[in-house]
């Protein structure tokens, strides 16, 4: 087995899991819910082994490095982080229906990594700027944050779906979702978690930039967009803590915040130019 086969299987696994979670939401069948969790967990393990194997393979190629160095590897890690974050949420809040709004993100990320235009799956050696332990710290912290924001966005969608059908609370699939108050609370906690990791991600990036170029902040588009994202979530948290915003407003902010994350992640690479160009292929 090679890492790319295992990661290919993971893509498929997350597709099946997504379908099962959505089926559970629609048909309210307990069995499909359990199957969804089982498939997700197994796929997650396969993916973990795949990532580990890719790391190992890079040593065989003579330039070992953690598989966190280009667009492909970051997408794989992004999906991995979404899944582990979601699984913890599933256990903690004992609710499988969130999966329908979270696991599809993991699948899309893997599918994009596998089939996206211009994304190379090849393991390539690290150019000098990337040869730093801060690379690992930076990518891990950022993507844990991004994963939390992805889940918060899924929960935001879930909230809006549920609240739009509020007058008929027990109608069809909407009735099976957790209560609005519960979703609102999970969104808030998820944003807090993501915000802490995003802050750590920006900080590790700044320290790394300083050790590589002697500038911890240069208003490069990627840096700036990560800060814009940070501003959006900071404003969201203040709106909630001090002005009591909740419900729909926070749900929308969770979605807007994640759009900013997506732009920081992809938009900057494809539409703007800057120092982060190695993340783009």
């Amino acid at each position: 087995m090679t890492s790319s086969q295992l990661l290919g299987i993971s893509t498929l696994g997350y597709l099946v899991a997504s379908a099962l979670y959505i089926a559970t939401l629609i048909f309210k069948t307990k069995k499909s819910g359990i199957a969804a969790s089982v498939v997700t967990l197994i796929t997650f393990l396969v993916q973990t082994v795949g990532i580990g194997l890719r790391w190992y393979e890079s040593y065989h190629l003579g330039f070992g490095h953690a598989p966190l160095s280009n667009m492909y590897e970051s997408l794989v890690f992004f999906s991995w982080a979404i899944v582990i974050f979601y699984l913890i949420l599933e256990v903690k809040f004992n609710n499988r229906l969130i999966g329908a709004f979270a696991i599809p993100f993991a699948f899309i990320s893997m599918a994009y990594a596998s089939f996206g235009k211009g994304i190379t799956q090849e393991i390539s050696p690290l150019i000098p700027a990337l040869q730093s332990n801060w690379l690992i710290a930076h990518v891990i912290t950022c993507f844990i944050g991004y994963a939390a924001f992805a889940v918060a966005c899924g929960l935001g969608c879930m909230y809006l779906v549920k609240s739009s059908a509020e007058d008929k609370p027990d109608a069809g699939l909407i009735g099976t979702l957790p209560g609005l108050k519960v979703i609102d609370d999970i969104i808030h906690k998820t944003i807090i978690f993501g915000f802490l990791w995003l802050s750590a991600g920006i900080i590790t990036g700044a320290i790394w930039a300083n050790s590589a170029w002697g500038t911890y902040w240069s208003w490069d588009p990627k840096e700036t967009w990560s800060l814009i994202t940070w501003f959006i979530y900071a404003a969201t948290l203040h709106a909630r803590f001090t002005r009591g915003w909740q419900g729909k407003r926070i749900a929308w902010l969770a979605i807007i915040g994640f759009l900013s994350v997506i732009f920081t992640y992809f938009g900057v690479n494809f539409l703007l130019s800057g120092l982060h160009s190695y993340g783009s292929s």
Binding site: P125, A200, A206, S211, G214, I232, H238
Partner: protein, 448 residues
């Protein structure tokens, strides 16, 4: 306090302002990521037209992040943070240090959560149960007699109320670090050819020369490649010279700079000249000389009667590493060519004579030089921010009161609590104390 009530003060103390500033900072920051920064003026005219370019000039768009209005927004944020903190801190301070044994008894029953237990135990026995239950669950209680009853109070982490102010202060510390850096520091660069030294660097801002007060010598620069042709390493062997004497040497690579007297030297680029550095030593006479030569030219070393030159090159088995064919002649006989790999040293044996011959491609190393006395403030600010965020998000000030009072022939035990955040977690703590207390009261032997 009257000056605090004026409208400018309350404007800056409002969280609404914070939301607006964060919103405008986010929107404004986008501009600079879409419109290229610090491009030559013509580029803006070509891309956006003359009128638009003039408009940009007025608003400082080409250097947006240093413009008066963007800095103005940052100052607004800083003022807002400072005044918000000054405004709210005294209150928070009071909450942290206040004597909770003086809490109004009537308020206790209204707290959420709170619970009253009635028992036939005497107040003193009930208090013993309460003391034990609190201690068992890790709550250290103080107590005082209140209104013919006993009030017990225990709290955890009152100081966590400062967490959010630590985060706000951390942003100010980061700003302070950035200001210190831009006022007392500079960034520049210098290109130093191998075997040469420089005591001057050139500022990024205006290309002005800046004297270092010491010299940096580039002893050697090496460039290596991966098999696929991508660069693997840029390495400069540097030395610091004070009055011509070497005081420090370090081999730097990208991500591993050299720091001396507040200046940090970063590997940032290199320049190739299609020239070669040859160092030649006569092993008997110890006569030595370094030559900077171009390929295909005949070089003479009159002192030793040596003539040599590079006449060919080929790639070695290592991709992008070349070997060179050298033509070499001295007074002892006919010319003999030999091959030498870039960066190697070889011994040339002639009739009765021996030379040490070293060849390497000649480069200049491009160093970025930074003096930033503010960077440690920025890092301190960053650490404070993470610490503050963790405290602010995950820890809460938790308080439990137990008020015990004789009510007719029964004793009332009123347990109340509150937490400023994460109430569900607190309620679990609270329930644990309550459960243990109920068990103790039930189990206690009746003395009457």
């Amino acid at each position: 306090m009257s000056n605090k009530k004026n409208s400018i003060w309350s404007f800056f103390a409002s969280v609404k302002l914070a939301l607006f500033v964060l919103f405008f900072l986010a929107i404004a920051s986008v501009i600079g990521t879409v419109i290229p920064q610090n491009a030559p003026p013509d580029a803006y005219i070509n891309e956006f037209g003359a009128n638009m370019a003039r408009f940009f000039q007025i608003l400082d768009i080409p250097d947006m992040y240093n413009s008066w209005w963007f800095i103005g927004l940052l100052i607004m944020l800083a003022l807002n943070l400072t005044i918000c903190t000054i405004e709210r801190l005294p209150n928070v301070w009071r909450l942290v240090v206040q004597d909770n044994l003086e809490t109004d008894i009537d308020r206790l029953a209204k707290m959420r959560p709170s619970k009253e237990i009635l028992t036939s135990l005497s107040p003193e026995e009930a208090a013993n149960c309460a003391r034990a239950s609190l201690a068992e669950n890790g709550w250290q209680a103080k107590e005082a007699p209140r209104d013919a009853g006993i009030l017990l109070f225990a709290q955890k982490w009152p100081w966590t109320r400062f967490g959010v102010y630590v985060v706000h202060t951390s942003i100010l510390v980061i700003f302070a670090g950035a200001m210190i850096g831009s006022h007392f520091g500079y960034k520049g660069s210098v290109m130093i050819p191998e075997t040469r030294s420089s005591d001057t660097i050139y500022s990024f801002n205006n290309q002005e020369p800046i004297k270092l007060g010491f010299e940096v010598l580039c002893k050697r620069f090496t460039l290596t490649h991966y098999a696929n042709g991508a660069p693997k390493e840029f390495r400069s062997d540097l030395a610091i010279l004070e009055n011509g004497k070497e005081v420090l040497t370090k081999s730097i690579v990208v991500n591993d700079p050299l720091t001396y007297k507040g200046h940090t030297f970063y590997q940032s680029s290199y320049q190739s000249y299609k020239k070669f550095l040859i160092s030649l030593t006569d092993n008997q006479t110890k006569q030595a000389e370094t030559f900077l030569i171009e390929p295909g030219k005949e070089i003479k070393w009159p002192v030793e009667d040596v003539t040599f030159g590079i006449i060919n090159r080929e790639m070695t088995e290592t991709p992008f590493l070349y070997k060179y064919k050298v033509w070499f002649k001295d007074g002892t006989g006919v010319a003999e060519p030999f091959w030498i790999t870039d960066g190697d040293t070889t011994t040339v044996k002639r009739n009765g004579k021996e030379y040490t011959f070293a060849l390497k491609e000649f480069f200049a190393t491009g160093l970025q030089v930074t003096k930033d006395p503010g960077v440690w403030y920025v890092y301190t600010g960053c650490m404070l921010m993470l610490l503050g965020l963790m405290v602010a998000f995950f820890l809460s000030h938790r308080r439990i009161w137990v008020y015990i009072k004789q009510e007719g022939d029964e004793t009332s035990v009123l347990v109340s609590g509150n937490a400023n955040k994460n109430r569900p977690t607190f309620e679990k703590n609270f329930d644990a104390v309550n459960r243990s207390l109920e068990e103790k009261i039930k189990a206690a032997p009746e003395t009457t």
